[in-house]
Subunit: 188 residues, 2 copies
């Protein structure tokens, strides 16, 4: 029963996104996803807890990336420099497949519960980065502020990128958004 | 049946908080809240949609305050100055009853769903402030960045205040947190 299926996760993810767009997230069942992917429901549940997780399973990888880059930034880096480096790495990592990110975003934008889940994911990422800064010896509120501001920059750059306005290089948009932030906060 | 009850909303809110602390939010029923307040369930539902709303009904007043202050800031104010003024007003408004805010926060901190609801409330406030800035002619991403950063400052100052560390003047903490933010973002 547990025969190996080539790229089962990828096929299930692809089938899910197609169906979420065609029928809506709420209306799609796991049975339909499995059928579209040519796999069984049992195989689906080997990879994903539920149909929502298909949209969010990448979050833990992203969190690990952000935390590792903050932890490994040079000891001379200021908190905002460590965050900036993490954002660029996230931009390079997420920026590889814009078409896929755009489809995922269309699904999320169409569903209040999914939009809320995305907000919670971002808040979790901010908390993880703040922890990583504290482990570098950065005190609060500096650690929290730098991390929260980093996530604000992340969100706004990602939003511009995924909605197709402007630059198609996400890492570059992250840098620009941070530069803009510095101008905004200095503006008094 | 609809006889007037003096300060029914306040009595229901007080009874709710007491029970949420004593028994937990999940375990408390509307019937118990009404009984503790010496009122009927019907009266409860005249003021609140559900038991969660008792904790969040102030959000729309707060949003109106933030939006109005941003809209009415002098035309010469930069985006971050308009946001700073709004945060100070929010600090003065919310800072009046620290004991009540602390009890409310204990209830929220003990429940994942309520913590998520609080995050969503803050994101909604950020979106409303960004809109208010756009109506002043501020372009994106500046409007979004200034508003998001404002909410980060708000959250961190409120967190310090409600958890009782440091200063007991919320408006003052908002100013300090914004000053700290400026130092953090300039730190490169």
């Amino acid at each position: 029963m547990s025969r190996w299926e080539p790229n089962a996760r990828g096929r299930l993810a692809q089938a899910s996104l197609e169906l979420y767009i065609e029928r809506g997230f709420e209306q799609t069942t796991v049975a339909e996803i499995a059928q579209r992917a040519g796999l069984t429901e049992r195989t689906f549940f080997r990879y994903f807890v539920d149909k929502r997780e298909v949209l969010f399973w990448g979050a833990s990888t992203l969190q690990e990336l952000l935390v590792t880059v903050v932890a490994e930034a040079p000891t001379t880096a200021t908190p905002i420099e460590a965050i900036a480096t993490a954002l660029e790495s996230a931009g390079a990592f997420l920026g590889e497949n814009r078409a896929h990110s755009q489809v995922r975003q269309r699904v999320i934008d169409a569903n209040t519960e999914l939009k809320e889940r995305e907000l919670i994911k971002l808040a979790t990422l901010a908390a993880a980065m703040a922890d990583a800064l504290r482990q570098r010896g950065v005190k609060d509120p500096t650690a929290s502020l730098a991390a929260e501001v980093g996530i604000a920059v992340f969100r706004i750059a990602f939003d511009q990128w995924v909605h197709g306005t402007g630059d198609s290089d996400l890492a570059h948009l992250m840098r620009e958004s941070l530069t803009e932030l510095k101008a905004v906060t200095a503006g008094d």
